[in-house]
Subunit: 229 residues, 2 copies
Amino acid sequence: MHKRILIVEDEASIRDMVAFALRKAGMDAAHAADARAAQMAISERVPDLILLDWMLPGTSGLELARRLRREELSREIPIIMLTARGEEMDRVNGLEAGVDDYVIKPFSTRELIARIKAVLRRSQGDDGSGVVELGGLRIDGPAHRVFAGEDAVPIGPTEYRLLFFFMTHPERVYSRAQLLDHVWGGSVYVEERTVDVHIRRLRKTLEPWKLDDMVQTVRGAGYRFSSST
Amino acid sequence: MHKRILIVEDEASIRDMVAFALRKAGMDAAHAADARAAQMAISERVPDLILLDWMLPGTSGLELARRLRREELSREIPIIMLTARGEEMDRVNGLEAGVDDYVIKPFSTRELIARIKAVLRRSQGDDGSGVVELGGLRIDGPAHRVFAGEDAVPIGPTEYRLLFFFMTHPERVYSRAQLLDHVWGGSVYVEERTVDVHIRRLRKTLEPWKLDDMVQTVRGAGYRFSSST
DNA sequence: GACGATTGTCATTGCCGTGTAACACAGCAT
DNA sequence: ATGCTGTGTTACACGGCAATGACAATCGTC
């Protein structure tokens, strides 16, 4: 559940600062001081994302990025480059090397975390287009539509919002009160049992495709949306 | 055949980063630091798409977007808004102003490129000839005519513009306000319900060919044009 | 300036979606 | 087993949004 981030940076002060910020944001931080240490750390345990300093002793960050892109093991790992201001030329090279994003020093940890999250989000199937796909279901935000395979699924407004919330927050239990907050909006007063009814309606709309068991009851706690039975 | 993108952004570092990413993706990048420079750049050479920062010195991005929608010259240019992580309010206002999409900062360059391509593709089903074909309907921009199969479809001016917008922006929901912005133009004040009436008239003109169900109602959201039922 | 075409607004109608209550059923405890 | 609590299911009535047709104003054309 926790994302593992590898920091490749020779300057200890920056490394510590970033590691602290990462842990505070609920991520696991590993670190390496140079290219060789980085490759060892990766082969030992593959991180979810790599923060790569541009200026490294020995093998440069750019060179390391290229190398990582060549290796089968590390090809899919997103990379965020840390570059000093005014190295614009370098950015071109970085983009060509397949780097996912840049953060310019000096940066605020808040911005860095936000960028990391953005990149992670994208690497998890949310390409930013507003389309989410999960377990045979596809929900298209801009089109306001749901597809089961190739078929368009007829669905009402509230069931749509409910399903949208579930698909963007899967594999997690939500109480009726939480669902009311997120799907109905905080300023509405509605009976909690109303949720049950809409859960029922959502299941009924998914039934023709045998996808109704994705909406799961967690007795005493609430409901969960899951792709696995 | 290279697409020309105009970046309107006051922060040089973001501008440069985006410009490099664009060029790498095979697009031409022009830039402007504020609203006035942007308008000059547009009048000099019309871009295929505009990247517009929400926060601009002087005239805000939102205001500029409204202004561009009012001008005949720039009405058809797709706009992607760059907004700081903020409220849903921003998104709503932006969409109401006739913006085609918005991207939240910080974004990865890859995500931005993906969005740009999506918008260009969408607002273009057009192969350059100005003729768009979709689901048995063909609309000829230069000739200002509509065909259902081999038959010419008699259609009024407003219904024509409405249909043209729909066919160049299919598979997506548009609120009444958005349709007013795109089809009527931002400087007219008209009741939202008027859209209903023209939707009705458009459906009636398509009825003889049983194509009226391509114009779909999305309760609580707006209307959508789609080839699939 | 007259005519038809086109457009925007309104009032009415119709229908879909929603919330609630009532009842049936299942899980869990003692 | 028995009772209790929590959930599934259905029915129903209300509210609200959208569809529709009629009308008046406006536009464009001859």
